[in-house]
Symmetry: C2
Subunit: 413 residues, 2 copies
């Protein structure tokens, strides 16, 4: 099956429905091609009181250890004084990078030092920096189909050619991957664990086969892993590239385990040459990540047991995911399929062929329930018959009621 | 006098002295052209104990109201709970944007609402976002000569053609400005108040004449104003564009008045269409700026008097600037000229024609005193006879001793 390359054309115009404006001639081509977050408009519609929204992607507030963080705030101001408020180094607080290295070495069998780690302003910045360092206009990149919509945004600014490779229950479609690799491609962007938007996880075999395909090729593999710590079912699977593909990049984040509001993520790579360039790009982008938050996270992490904290989050998310799939079992017609997540925050619903989730959306809103239609997660599909649902931000009764409402609508199809 | 356009070529190679490495073929053209911060290597050399360093650009810790910030931390966690740790909106905390609007309206005669303001991850991010939104490869931009080196970095990623316009005691060289405007130019980047690196301030007349030159042209004016609140001598001068050129952008920051470590700056513009694109670029870059820090700043600013706090900073900086110019009067030979700052953090030294500050640097280090040679602040000059000195981070006795050491060296020229 041939894999086609796609450029994004005039997203701004088509997605907002606005006419291009008086200042169009001043705008860069990159920004004209960058889709505004469609999800933001959906979230706005979904924020009406009375609407049960599965559209967001917010971690449950249970994941913010507020009291412990407050204790850490007092301690770092007392212990480190002006250092927590002053300018700092671009790569990030060495102590925090050491904590991350130690944790990944201990839990995931890597062999990292602080030189393998750069702190970023959330994982989102990592995507921006990687694009800056690797992408010229018209360079090819391979992405999952569907993929994380804010990655599409970050990459689009650099006007690449997207080669979407289908995501299956097992992981990447390997034939399509090999086909896509025939093109001029700089990197592959993957989310192998509890993928956003689908909630799918690549199997160990699929990972191994991807590794075999990539190991002799000159291409950067990005493994984006914001949810890896949130596995509530089964065992941690080995990384595709981290620890064995020297040019691979592993992305991590504290957004799902401690706080997203403080925008603290990290880039891990064995390729310190690549990291040096990423660091130059970061310096040009924001000098360094908020140093107060880096001290705070480091102090919190060294004075508390992160695994005990994460266990609480996982227990809740497992219950919520179960509540959602149970409700789908009960209320959805058989023609509608959905993924069973083993971790993370999302699941993915596939409607019968030809049914547009986008067109269903306003009808769902009338029934006071919201989701994200699949479209913004694809480069090359409109009126997709898929939708993303988040289960982490509603209690189990609300989840049941929301899925009941949605099921009522789906039964009318 | 003709103004020439300059592209940056292979900065990475020339500035670091490294050979291009094995992965060069994977790198983007933009990153290859982005100079690594030369200042970082200088700062490292200057950090030896015993060296008196005027090389940095750090605010004095007196500007961090640590105790008051700690009180605010406790209050926002108590009052706003999980909101200070959760994901937030891209444009920034509405309450903080309202505070900024009110302050600029009251103090500087603008007419802003929150829709005219986007919070950025430090002013540095504003430069990155503006470049993303406005610059295609080979677009022209006008910059001061010399200019802020991290702006050169941020813009270089987008491979523009730089048109440097000389900065004089009064402001921009207007003939050169008109000449540069004959070219295809997207924006002009200026720091009219206590410029970095020179410490110079554009006169009211120079500002007016720039306004007259620009008012009927289709070009974006950027006024970067991180130091404007730190005037310790004379009266606030009217902005060039803010309040009267609809396509102009004013940049501000809390880095010099409250804390740089929390990376909180802001973009002000009357052009809400432009801001909408900047917001899309920001979403793709880091989703939003650290929301905890935004709540913190807002709470601090509404519960304390910022002007009283700034008065303390200004009193100190005025004493330090005075100590530095007094010492230069006493120890420098007459052939060496320097600017007299009326605010901000830097002053600028001009050596006799033909003397390279870069070549002087190792000799200064031998005498245990450090500065930043002028080179990295220029697009088109090497071995400049200029240097930047920072006076905010040493006490007056140390300043006197450092300038005495430097004067001893300069007298040998």
């Amino acid at each position: 099956m041939p894999v086609f390359g796609y450029r994004i054309y005039n997203s701004t115009k088509s997605e907002t429905g606005d006419e291009m404006m008086s200042m169009e001639h001043l705008l860069s081509d990159g920004i004209k091609l960058t889709p505004p977050s469609f999800v933001r408009s959906i979230l706005k519609a979904a924020s009406d009181p009375g609407v049960i929204s599965f559209a967001g992607g917010l971690p449950n507030p249970i994941s913010f250890p507020q009291e412990d963080l407050l204790v850490s705030m007092e301690r770092i101001v007392k212990n480190y004084g002006s250092s927590v408020f002053q300018y700092s180094i671009t790569a990030g607080l060495p102590e925090l990078r050491q904590y991350i290295a130690d944790r990944y070495n201990r839990k995931f069998g890597l062999h990292l030092t602080i030189d393998n780690i750069i702190i970023t302003t959330g994982s989102q910045q990592a995507l921006d920096l990687i694009a800056k360092v690797l992408l010229d206009k018209d360079d090819g990149i391979i992405v999952e189909k569907p993929t994380y919509l804010a990655a599409i945004q970050a990459f689009s600014l650099n006007q690449p050619v997207f080669y979407p490779v289908e995501l299956t229950e097992d992981g990447l479609n390997l034939e399509q991957l090999e086909e896509a690799l025939q093109h001029h491609v700089k990197f592959i962007y993957t989310i192998p664990e509890f993928q956003n938007p689908t909630g799918l996880t690549y199997s160990a075999e699929n990972r191994n086969r991807i590794y075999e395909i990539l190991k002799n090729r000159d291409i950067v593999l990005i493994e984006d892993d914001p949810y890896g710590e949130l596995r509530f079912d089964g065992e941690h699977l080995p990384y595709i590239g981290a620890g064995r593909l020297p040019d691979s990049i592993l992305l991590g984040s504290f957004s799902k385990t401690v706080t997203p509001g403080m925008r603290t993520g990290f880039i891990i790579s064995e390729n310190t040459e690549l990291l040096r360039y990423i660091s130059i790009a970061k310096e040009a982008s924001d000098l360094h990540t908020n140093i107060f938050s880096q001290y705070l996270l480091w102090d919190y992490l060294t004075n508390n047991d992160l695994d005990t904290h994460i266990a609480k989050i996982k227990a809740l998310y497992q219950k919520q995911a179960q509540a959602m799939t149970n409700a789908m079992d009960a209320y959805f017609p058989d023609t509608v399929k959905y993924t069973t997540p083993h971790g993370g925050m999302f699941l993915w619903v596939t409607l019968p062929e030809g049914v547009s989730a986008m067109k269903l959306f306003p009808k769902a809103l009338e029934r006071k329930v919201a989701f994200v239609p699949g479209d913004p997660f694809y480069i090359d599909i409109e009126n997709a018959n898929t939708m993303r649902l988040n289960y982490t931000n509603a209690d189990c009764e609300t989840i049941d009621e929301g899925i009941r409402r949605l099921g009522g609508l789906l039964k009318q199809l």
